[in-house]
Symmetry: C2
Subunit: 398 residues, 2 copies
């Protein structure tokens, strides 16, 4: 019924493998992809011609085993790049990511005006991204944006931090119009992207289903990445899990939502610090707690306990293989692991499945996830982003 999704062909799959696992030999790629040797050989030739990879000399003779040595396939140093963006409150943060997953250049940012219309914000974002991609040098494959709010199929609804509240913004489509042909546009929920990155490259490596909880200064987000080769997971409003049905009223309409007790604001409140909205305050409290100051530490533990109640409930309901805690407050998992895990230990579900609560390993999960999303699009049609000028025929000598 709904199957217009192009599967990556051998060329794309090889490129993806290189992107995820780094340099490989042809032989390793053959076994990893389960393809015939000849197919990998052709794909390598194509990718070389497209200047996406370079074939480096094999390891010097004597180091490998018997047999014919296999040269190493590495992403081309001037290979394709994508721009990953994370649109937060007031600013968007952008980075250029190279094939292989390395950041290129410095973190860039862009002010985001909540009063501006969505089109203008997106146009500015596309322009800044184009500038960064040009500076980075390589061919530009795509732009992927992570944001909060409700995001589905690249359409953003009720993103309070952007001021896009009145009607749905078809952000992906609008961005695509601003980009040169061949450059893909993708828009997804920030937590889904974080989940993607943590499963591929971080704390959730190799796991099946992953539940990501993102504790921020204002609010708690989340995403569930179900088992299987899912493209983008299902974003959760984890902060609006009801923890105390008779608790304080939440703007969301319910009572006693988790994020009333366990986000950055709650930590400041518990620590007796006046919340000016400055993100540094939360980090300061966490820093003091880490240094052992009793007040902040006790505050962190109280917040962690609340968070643990919510996490345990979510684990009980969603039954993920791994829970990854990330966001500005992820240090809680180190400072107050006991409090955080106390409820989880009671849960039969968690015990049966041996659900682990882990700390996010990536410092920029959203940007990394966005980059992977953009590359995924690229892998489905690698020749799109590079001019149609190049001949595809390996044997155009004849």
């Amino acid at each position: 019924m709904d199957r217009p999704v192009r599967r990556p062909t051998a060329v794309g799959r090889l490129l993806e493998l290189l992107h995820l696992r780094g340099p490989l030999t042809r032989a390793e790629a053959t076994t990893s992809l389960g393809l015939a040797r000849s197919v990998v050989g052709d794909a390598v030739a194509d990718l070389e011609e497209l200047r996406l990879i370079v074939v480096r000399q094999a390891a010097p003779t004597g180091t490998a085993g018997r047999g014919r040595p296999s040269p190493l396939l590495v992403p081309a140093p001037d290979g394709p790049v994508v721009v990953a963006a994370h649109v937060g409150v007031g600013t968007a943060r952008l980075r250029v990511v190279r094939l292989g997953g390395e950041f290129v250049g410095e973190l860039a940012s862009l002010p985001v005006d909540r009063a501006a219309p969505a089109e203008r914000t997106l146009t500015a974002l596309a322009a800044r991204a184009a500038e960064l991609a040009r500076e980075a040098g390589g061919p530009w494959a795509g732009l992927a944006v992570g944001t909060g709010g409700m995001v589905r199929h690249g359409v953003v609804r009720s993103a309070l931090h952007l001021g896009w509240t009145t009607e749905p913004v078809p952000a992906e489509e609008l961005l695509a119009r601003q980009l040169p042909p061949g450059v893909s546009a993708s828009v997804a929920h920030e937590c889904s992207l974080a989940a993607l990155a943590e499963r591929r490259r971080g704390a959730g490596r190799g796991a099946g289903s992953v539940l990501v909880l993102t504790c921020e200064h204002t609010g708690i987000g989340g995403a569930l990445l179900p088992d299987g080769p899912t493209a983008v997971g299902h974003a959760l409003e984890a902060g609006h899990l009801v923890v105390d049905d008779r608790g304080p009223q939440c703007p969301c309409g319910q009572r006693g939502c988790l994020e009333l007790f366990a986000d950055g604001r709650a930590l400041l409140r518990e620590a007796g610090v006046t919340d000016t909205g400055d993100a540094a305050l939360v980090q300061a409290v966490l820093g003091r707690a880490a240094r052992g100051e009793p007040g902040p530490l006790a505050a962190a533990r109280r917040v962690a306990e609340r968070l643990g109640i919510g996490a345990a409930s979510l684990v009980n309901v969603l039954d993920p293989d791994v829970v990854v805690l990330t966001g500005p407050l992820k240090a809680l998992a180190v400072l107050a692991r006991e409090q955080l895990e106390s409820r989880l230990a009671d849960s039969l579900v968690a015990r049966v499945n041996d659900t682990r609560l882990t700390v996010g390993e990536l410092s920029e999960p959203v940007l990394l996830g966005a980059a992977d999303l953009a590359f995924d699009v690229f892998f489905r049609a690698p020749s799109n982003a590079l001019g149609d000028t190049t001949r595809r025929t390996r044997t155009d000598a004849d």
Copy 2:
């Protein structure tokens, strides 16, 4: 990385289309599938040769528009069947389903002994299924089983109702060994299957993400079918959502779980009926409530209110497009819609997304979902079930 999943080819896709939408002309299939006319023509020829479909004469001349009339493709009356099974407490229920989604013959059942080892139960299930498939006549394409517990990739863990609690049971693999070659085995969570069926054929038709809540006599299950062409959704332990953190202790280790307040046992308690474990008792109470008896009606409303709290919380967290309430207690949604929806109306998330709470339309969602799962496997390789070598035994007359 993980892509050994074969995509259905044109033959399979056409068969799937026929299965889901009923008889079609070649022309309609061509546009629906977006394939070339010749491909559909070839596929039809193949399917005719495989005796999976028959080509019926076109509508009598004069009824259609201009142009050459197009004959109708219909699933063969002696076409392939699958056996769908739902393993519940004490008994397994089985039905034969024909290509096209119709039940064949009567509901069959099989006692399930909790004390028996898993192998014996599965062997009996496979044997009974083989018997039913033989009676039904057509070639047997597959057996799909829905069950509770924790099911992942066909492996069942901690299925209390089956007594499979000590260690994981690779049910799919064990079943596959009992089945003749060419007959597929699939095992999935009952709620995932119900969600699949309701989205394809029931209350969730056309929706993106679907949250299914199954209210049973003992416990509340659920499943989340994320947006996109997902095979099988993510099963939820919806009954173990914490509704009241200071509530009664639940065997799951938490306090105040939803199912302590809102399953069949809770309804009987509220109605002042002694719970003997008989499923008919719950239906009796619901029937009396439907007839307007004040006591049972008030009990139903109190339970529905609790259920509504849980449903609203889940909606707030999971933000699905549609919520489908099914299971033996789904009548609550009719008897006490107001109470059930009162909390949902408060939820900002539900209001923004206009989340609908609907009643499951299918009387046997689990069996239908299981059948679809088995057919999905069949569609990926339709010739497998029919002699891969030559003709099948059905045609061994020649």
